[in-house]
Each structure stands twice: as structure tokens, then as C-alpha cells.
């Protein structure tokens, strides 16, 4: 019985290999880097890809997609992953690591890893840039710049505040931050939910995702919201009246980590790309206009808009950025999303 089943299995496999010759020639595949869509892709295509090509003389394919798609694609083909390098926000990164999809970074051999600021040094995959969330507002409508998260609750902003739901990193990070402000923590967001309920009269919109939230400034639908520094730069470049300020409680910084996919046939090249992404040369270029991507390598001298709005240097960064414990956040995030579904209805 078993032998017949084996025979059929072997037959099917051979047939499949004959039909799809690519299956047996994975080693000849080009390096695939799954970056994020939109401005991240543009920045990586303009700066990181040329640096990688110059260093290795090898080809690379950018395949931009959301974290969740990266995880789905890799977990569907663990033995022959279609992606060699993944890029993740903190929540999805933990999911990918938890499912055993990533390989630990060879830290000891790395040239640049030790230069990263301590918060960016993650053995499972280093953080190559930070995404920073602060207060964003329309300077045409709001003459005195807000200075604290608490300003969102001011009565003068009735019907003018925008937030996102908890599906995004931004939404969840914001809930945790206001919970901390009102006495909670990463594992206790009771105070945050109470604050969200109190915020309801001021809410003009609960956007489905951060992109939709930023676009609402363009429509004049909202005048103030928590917002992503880089998303705001794109709007500003298009002439939308919107400004970013770091609240006095500190801006929320998310580590965007980069991972070698386990069983990647291009392991060495993947490591070469990650080295390039950590290098001060690439990070300096990415920090310049129009990309304004926040560097994690301490050898990068912070300048330009990033220095002006976010932090003068890496010491200042430690003072003005708040890092959250996403291991704790992930434990209860599902319950919070469920609670948000039930409670925050306008």
C-alpha cells in the first residue's frame, strides 16, 4: 500500500518537475528583495539598488508588497522561498520570526552592525531605518502648533481630528502611547481606550489605513492627527499644507527590520544587500531630500530636514524617540482590535 502511494508521489513529483522546470533550478534565481510599496520602493530603487549592484556586480529584483503578503508567500513555500529578503514593521516581524521564516543575522561577521544604535541592533534582523510618528496638523487652519498628544482632546478641535483603526502599526502604536500617557503600558491599554472614547466628539474620521488618513489633510476633512513623518513629507512635496511636530512626550519610533529568509538560495547576496542597507553611505543618501528616511547607523551625521524636525544627532534621538515593546503589544493586539471594533463606533 505504502509503496504504491510512494510510487504515485514520485510520479507526481517528476511530472510536476517536468512541467515546471523552474522548481529544480532555484539556485539560478535572482536575488528578490520584498520592500514596501510606494515611496519606500522609490527610495530603495534610487539608492540601495545601485549601491548593491556596485558592491556585488549581481542582479536584484525589487518586489514591493505588504508585510502580510511577504509572510504569506514565504510560508507557502518554505523550502524554496520566492523572496530572499523581507522588510517588516515590528508586529509582522515578530510573526515572521515566530513562524520560523527568518534566519538570524550573522552579526559577528557584519561590518556595520556594531555601529547601529543599540535599539536597532536586533540579532533576528537589524533595523535599517525608523518610522517616526508624531503630531501632524494643517498650519493654515491651526495657527499655534500643537505640542503634546493631549492637544488632540482640546475642545477647539471638535470634529477636526483624524486617527486610524488598530489594523495599522500606526493605530496600535498610537493607542499604546496614549495609554502610557494616561498611566497604562504595553500590556494595559485600559486608559487608552477610555481616552479614545473621550476623543469621540473631536473625531472627524477614523481612517482605514495611514495612507487614507494622510490623504484626508488634502481634502480638508481633518486638521490634526497622529501621522507618519515620511507620509507627511510626500504630501508636503505636493503642496498640501501640513506640518509635523514631535510631541513633548516624544515621537513614537517603529523599527523597520530587514531579514534574511530561511532557506534562501541566495543567502550570501542577501547578506550583502543588508550590509549595504546598514552602511553609512546608503543611509546618508536615504536621509537626504526627497526621501528623508531616518537613519539607524550612528556613523551617519544627521542633517537636513531630519535634523531640523526630528533629532539633531543620535543622542538627541534617544531622548526624543519613544520605542515600544512590540513583543508585549503583540500578545494582546488581537483582543484590542476586537475591542476597538466593538467600542469605537461613531
Amino acid at each position: 500500500m505504502t509503496s504504491r502511494r510512494k510510487l504515485i508521489q514520485t510520479g507526481l513529483t517528476l511530472g510536476a518537475m517536468h512541467l515546471f522546470p523552474g522548481m529544480s533550478q532555484a539556485q539560478a534565481k535572482r536575488l528578490v528583495f520584498a520592500t514596501f510599496t510606494g515611496s519606500w520602493e522609490e527610495a530603495h530603487r534610487a539608492v540601495l539598488v545601485p549601491a548593491f549592484r556596485a558592491a556585488t556586480k549581481s542582479e536584484i529584483v525589487l518586489d514591493p508588497m505588504l508585510s502580510v503578503d511577504q509572510i504569506a508567500k514565504v510560508s507557502a513555500a518554505r523550502n524554496n522561498p520566492p523572496i530572499d529578503i523581507m522588510l517588516h514593521d515590528p508586529g509582522p516581524a515578530l510573526t515572521a520570526i515566530g513562524q520560523g521564516l527568518t534566519e538570524d543575522y550573522p552579526v559577528a561577521q557584519s561590518k556595520y552592525y556594531k555601529d547601529l544604535i543599540p535599539e536597532a541592533q536586533e540579532g533576528t534582523g537589524p533595523a535599517v531605518f525608523f518610522q517616526v510618528v508624531g503630531l501632524t496638523y494643517n498650519p493654515d487652519k491651526i495657527k499655534t502648533a500643537p505640542s503634546s498628544w493631549r492637544d488632540l482632546w482640546k475642545p477647539e478641535f471638535k470634529g477636526r481630528v483624524g486617527i486610524t483603526n488598530l489594523n495599522s502599526t500606526l493605530g496600535t502604536g498610537f493607542l499604546v502611547e496614549i495609554s502610557r500617557m494616561f498611566g497604562g503600558s504595553e500590556s494595559n491599554v485600559e486608559a487608552g481606550f477610555k481616552a479614545l472614547n473621550d476623543l469621540k466628539p473631536n473625531l472627524a474620521a477614523v481612517a482605514a489605513n495611514p495612507g487614507a488618513l494622510a490623504a484626508l489633510f488634502q481634502q480638508g476633512q481633518i486638521d490634526i492627527s497622529p501621522g507618519n513623518f515620511n507620509a507627511i513629507q510626500i504630501l508636503k512635496a505636493r503642496g498640501v499644507p501640513v506640518e509635523f511636530v514631535t510631541p513633548k512626550e516624544g515621537a513614537i519610533a517603529f523599527k523597520t527590520t530587514i531579514h534574511v529568509v530561511k532557506n534562501s538560495p541566495n543567502r550570501d547576496l542577501a547578506i550583502a544587500l543588508i550590509e549595504a542597507a546598514m552602511s553609512p553611505e546608503v543611509q546618508s543618501k536615504l536621509m537626504a531630500s526627497p526621501f528623508l528616511i531616518v537613519p539607524t547607523n550612528t556613523k551617519v551625521k544627521i542633517a537636513g530636514e531630519v535634523a531640523k524636525v526630528l533629532a539633531k544627532d543620535h543622542d538627541d534621538m534617544k531622548k526624543r524617540f519613544v520605542f515600544q515593546d512590540w513583543k508585549k503589544i503583540n500578545e494582546q493586539r488581537a483582543q484590542w482590535i476586537e475591542r476597538f471594533n466593538r467600542e469605537i463606533r461613531l
Binding site: S168, A205, A207, A208, N209, A212, Q219, Q221, R342, R345
Partner: protein, 285 residues
């Protein structure tokens, strides 16, 4: 002798459909089967199989509320499209034939634009500084902008516009088929215009109404992009619920239960409407 055994020229062997059948089996039914299996895992990490936990969660008070609200949204959009679409189709069949292609072109125009573009256009129309609010402010009818975007009614109106062609085209088709002499006959027998409409035109156009409603309803409840961009993140309909569980939480078992429930509900609604359609055709005949 042999000529007698030959099949009629219009009959083809069913075997010709086998590539399609195999494709359906492989790429549609098999994945559905996988969804079914996945939905019986008890946890997001998919370690314990064989529990009904996800299904119980789907059918708890909150899950049922989301399902009912989604269907209610579909009904609202369908009714509004029906009222607007019927008037439009009515105008069409009474327009001189030389102008009819123009109306068809205008009706089809939204179908030639991507849903995303149409949805963004509605954001511009409904926003606080949008066309409606600016017009009302300029006329002095309101002092502060009304909240139209991210409201239930804003969503219903936008969805009705986006799905309108799906309603109008079947309606035009069925109204055109009605013999004009019937209404003349009805009028000559002393019926008022309203009576003629109610007793003659409406029943005869029923197949068009049902076909249009079916398409509009199915399109409205599954319109993930319009629902999330115009309705916003605080409204939860089945497509967003599904996306949230699968995408933000990687909770595939629960997402599978949601998607199968939604699929089954849509099939039940659509076949019920279809059944109504065949009944009405039978009555009309």
C-alpha cells in the same frame, strides 16, 4: 445508416468543457476546500484542529451584527440604485433613438473608470471642503461644513453611484422589451397613468429589476475599497472584518470562517433573488 447516429450539429460533447472543469476544480473548489479545513483550527497559529471555536465566534452577537449590517447596507444601496436607475431607464426608452447612444455612453462611463478613481472622486465631492459643502456654504444655507464623508449616508450614496450601471443596463433591457401598445390599451380602457405603471409596466419589467438588484446587491456588499475609503475605519463590514483578521492579525482560521460565512450568505441571497426572478418571469408569461 450512419447519418442517423450523428449528433445534431448544435450539440457538442461535454468533454470540450473539461479543461474549464479541471481549472475550476483546481483553482476554485480546491482552495475553498482548504479554507473549510483551515476554519476548524482553534487558534491563530493553527495547532489544534477539529474545534468549532472560530464558527462560534463568527456567529456570536457581534459577528452576526456585522453580517446583518453588511446585508442592510446592500439593501439600502440596492433600493437607492433602483429608484435612480428606474427613472434613468424610463427616460432612456422614451428618448428618440438618435439620442439613445449618448445616454448609454453616459451610463457606461463610470464602468470605464477604475473603482478607486470613482471612490476618490466621491471623497472630493463629500469632503468638508468638497463640492456639496462649498456650495451650501456659498449659498449661505449652512454656517459650518456638514459631515458627509465617513457617514452611513455618504457611503450609501457613493456606492449607489458606483454600482448604478449594473442596475440601469438590465432595466433598460427589460423596459425596451415591453410593447408600447400595452400601455395605450390600458389607457384606452380608462386606467390612470399610475395604475398602468403599477399593473402593466412594473410587473413586466420585474426580470430587469431582479437582475439589476442582484448585481447591485452583490457588488455593494463586497465593495471593500469604497467601503473602507468612504465609510472609514470605524465602520465594520464583512470584507473589512475579513481583511483585518487575515492581514493585521494573521488569524487565518477565523478569517476562513468569516469568508465562508460571507460566501454562503451571498449565495443564499443571490439564489433567493434568482428564484423570485424566475417566479416573476413565469407570472409575466
Amino acid at each position: 445508416m450512419t447519418t442517423l447516429r450523428r449528433l445534431p450539429v448544435t450539440a457538442y460533447s461535454l468533454w470540450l468543457a473539461s479543461p474549464l472543469a479541471i481549472a475550476m476544480l483546481l483553482f476554485f473548489l480546491a482552495p475553498l476546500g482548504v479554507l473549510g479545513v483551515v476554519s476548524f483550527y482553534g487558534d491563530a497559529a493553527m495547532t489544534q484542529w477539529g474545534t468549532l471555536a472560530q464558527w462560534q465566534k463568527m456567529f456570536d452577537a457581534f459577528g452576526l451584527m456585522v453580517l446583518a449590517d453588511t446585508l442592510w447596507l446592500g439593501i439600502q444601496v440596492t433600493l437607492l440604485s433602483l429608484v435612480l436607475g428606474y427613472a434613468l431607464a424610463w427616460v432612456f426608452v422614451r428618448t428618440p433613438t438618435s439620442l439613445q447612444p449618448l445616454i448609454i455612453f453616459i451610463v457606461m462611463l463610470p464602468l470605464l473608470t477604475s473603482v478607486v478613481v470613482r471612490t476618490f472622486a466621491w471623497i472630493v465631492v463629500l469632503g468638508r471642503q468638497g463640492i456639496i459643502n462649498s456650495a451650501l456654504l456659498d449659498l449661505g444655507w449652512i454656517d459650518t461644513p456638514l459631515k458627509l464623508l465617513y457617514t452611513r449616508w455618504g457611503l450609501v450614496v457613493a456606492l449607489a453611484n458606483v454600482q448604478l450601471p449594473l442596475m440601469v443596463l438590465p432595466l433598460i433591457n427589460s423596459l425596451q422589451k415591453i410593447d408600447r401598445n400595452l400601455s395605450d390599451a390600458s389607457a384606452s380602457l380608462g386606467a390612470s397613468e399610475w395604475q398602468t405603471f403599477r399593473k402593466i409596466t412594473l410587473p413586466l419589467s420585474m426580470p430587469g429589476i431582479i437582475a439589476g438588484s442582484l448585481l447591485t446587491f452583490a457588488a455593494a456588499i463586497t465593495a471593500f475599497i469604497s467601503q473602507s475609503l468612504i465609510g472609514g475605519g470605524q465602520m465594520l463590514f464583512m470584507p473589512m472584518y475579513l481583511y483585518q483578521q487575515a492581514s493585521a492579525l494573521s488569524n487565518y482560521p477565523f478569517a476562513a470562517a468569516i469568508s465562508l460565512t460571507f460566501l454562503a450568505t451571498v449565495i443564499v441571497c443571490v439564489s433567493a433573488l434568482n428564484r423570485l426572478g424566475s417566479l416573476s418571469r413565469w407570472r409575466a408569461a
